[in-house]
Symmetry: C2
Subunit: 428 residues, 2 copies
């Protein structure tokens, strides 16, 4: 047996406790796999005296994550505090400065400061592993970085926020309003402290920025992601989509080619029969397209104590085995600053208009679409109570610019009550 590997765990929330449970319950398995005992040397958290359902006897308590990060008796700094700034960032840097390896579940930190941290780590021959930051228990980072090492990746897309998928699934399956489904998710504690991180698409965007870097060898670039959330999706949209053979999912999509990089997070329509159309509830799914492997699909639990801890422990085992790679799979100095792809691709769109129920309204609306070169594939107007009618349209392929022009013109008419919605139809 080699020397034990010693952990310093910063943060004893759901995930931190989950890690301790696995380390304690699977001690023999982990020792057999790595040839080393994995020891929890020290921990740090806000409140010390609190029953967390795990024994922390003979574990040193540090009041500050910073102090924990620098301890001589730890090999790996496990950061499960969260947040892109403040103590999480500071203690992670402190750990790297002290020559420690870092394992983190912090998607915001890596999405926003990944390049800086990777350069610091690689300069010190330290590792930062972050499998748990994207899609919970699904080993998506390892899959792209290692399992597809010989592939030119062209596109990665997926449902990477379980909470949004849960809300959309509940609306679809139980005919709930967005607000009711949102409230239910809230009661179940599925939502982040700031719910806009989930329903606003920010959490998905953090994960997407990381996926882009690993897939394409580009510097993580959270700022350039186009982000839209699911707040405006209503039950009419869900029904109309289903009616036309689609489901509405909050997708993260990243594509890279000679035109540059395009990253977007937004609610899209996907064919109900496609893999992405078939995942329900809190499940995550990531689809990877590589030139040799073709299309690879991974599906699993994207959040929760055990799945997230499972990913953290996998990273810890890699380090215990002394396995090191560049942080994003290629040396951070070699990561390119991708030019943002401004080349528009045409796609079919789904539109929802709320039309005042007055003579000629539909005629005026459809002529505005025609004037802007938007041609209609399918249109539905459902029976309605109240003075306006939802009109639901699927367009033929169109570029976004003329579409936006049409949307603007429509919003300006007296016929259209609220700002129209337009969702891209993402084809596999």
């Amino acid at each position: 047996m080699n020397t034990p590997i010693r952990l310093g765990i910063a943060g004893l929330g759901t995930v931190g406790v989950g890690i301790i449970k696995i380390i304690q319950q699977q001690a023999n398995l982990l020792a057999n796999r790595t040839g080393r005992n994995i020891e929890i040397a020290a921990v740090s958290a806000l409140t010390r005296h609190k029953d967390r359902g795990v024994s922390l006897n003979d574990v040193v308590w540090e009041n500050s994550p910073d102090a924990l990060a620098k301890r001589d008796d730890i090999d790996i700094f496990v950061e499960v505090i969260g947040g892109s700034e403040g103590v999480a960032k500071q203690s992670t840097k402190a750990a790297l400065d002290a020559g420690k390896d870092v394992v983190t579940a912090n998607k915001a930190l890596i999405a926003i400061h990944g390049q800086e941290l990777a350069e610091k780590a690689e300069a010190r021959n330290c590792s930062i592993l972050y499998e748990a930051a994207v899609a919970g228990g699904i080993p998506i980072i390892k899959t792209i970085r290692e399992g597809l090492a010989g592939n030119q990746i062209s596109r990665v897309l997926g449902v990477i926020n379980g909470t949004c998928n849960y809300i959309l699934t509940r609306m679809e399956q139980d005919n709930l309003s967005y607000q009711d489904a949102f409230n239910e998710a809230d009661e179940l504690n599925y939502l982040e402290a700031d719910p806009s991180l989930d329903v606003g698409g920010i959490d998905s965007a953090h994960k997407l920025a990381i996926l882009s870097a690993v897939a394409f060898g580009t510097q993580p670039d959270f700022q350039s992601i186009e982000v839209a959330g699911i707040e405006r999706i209503n039950i009419d949209d869900i029904h109309a989509a289903a009616d036309m053979g689609f489901k509405i999912k909050l997708l993260g999509v990243t594509q890279c080619d000679s035109d540059g990089l395009i990253q977007r997070v937004h609610p899209c329509l996907v064919p109900a029969t496609s893999p992405l159309g078939q995942i329900d509830g809190g499940t995550n799914m990531v689809v990877i397209e590589g030139d040799s492997v073709g299309r690879l699909v991974l599906q699993g639990l994207g959040a929760g104590q055990s799945p997230t801890a499972s990913a953290i422990v996998s990273d810890i085992c890699d380090l215990a085995l002394g396995q090191r790679r560049p942080i994003f799979g290629r040396p951070s100095k070699s990561l390119i600053q991708a030019r943002r792809n401004s080349h528009e691709r045409s796609a079919p769109y789904y539109m929802r208009l709320s039309l005042l129920d007055q003579t000629g309204a539909l005629a005026r609306v459809t002529s505005i679409l025609a004037e802007n070169g938007i041609s209609i594939d399918r249109m539905r107007q459902y029976g309605h109570s109240g003075e306006y009618a939802p009109v639901l349209i699927v367009t033929h392929k169109s570029l976004r610019t003329p579409l936006n022009r049409a949307l603007k013109a429509l919003a300006a008419t007296k016929d259209v009550v609220e700002a129209p919605i337009a969702l891209k139809i993402e084809l596999p």
Copy 2:
């Protein structure tokens, strides 16, 4: 840049050529990922002068894989010859004896001789990597061995032979007979030289034996796998299954618990709406159940030049980075010889009987089932031409022993024309 890593490739068939293509076309990517140039130092194949569409200038040619395996100027012996015995096994051992690492796509070799080879390799501190041996381009070995390192795995099941899935899909979607679908697969060169390896379930069993070892820490035990093929599945079965909300898939299933290990490959019914029920054609899917990660599903191309080569190149990159683990994820000396689980689990079954169209036949058949304690959930008898009628039955949960007793009794009657079929209904 570190020293280059030098390959000796034994076998220049589809996969061998695919490896060369990736190594040559992705040279920069691979060098960036691994920090080393990957060089093809020498090759060996049966016929030398043959246009394979790749340039092999300044690559040394060895006539014997054995001689190739021992060359001083190679670091990794890449075995893509195939077959569990003969030259593949011999040259692999020669490579290990010479202290070379081995990368192979040879499922039969690892399934049957994996324990012996792993002990030899570990004794010499050499690696054997075999990602390409199971499920083609899907990084399933890496996922279980590394990505789920902290999980107690309870079950792994999947569709791991694309050819059988192609045949079953063609029957289902285009109403082809088994023989027509088989012939089509044959014309497309989807079948192994010995087709029984595919349709007889042997190929799936080879892969399953490997999955078991990696998932459970047991010695690969191909011999103890219960194997049945798809040869007797006919279009009536496909229709009846669809009619009742199921699809027929050739599944490999391995489960391990305190009762021991049970490994089986056989055609099963799965719910049409389950992930396994939704994969068509040559696609593979593997479902892994772990105590922390929950259920993880991987889907991708299970065969073909590029996907298989993609897996081989991933293994080569791991070795180029100097990453070593025990061959099956735990030291081979620690792998246990699993007791075969003889504890029967009850399950619902699908049965097909060919009944002579004579008065009282159905009464006699159903009473035989009753006498053996097999109770009927659903039964269908379809209109038929000719003198016998297909009768299709879904039973309530039953143990296999009384079911086999009933099948035997049924076969002995004058009412039942050919040996009845009984397929397990595998619930997710």
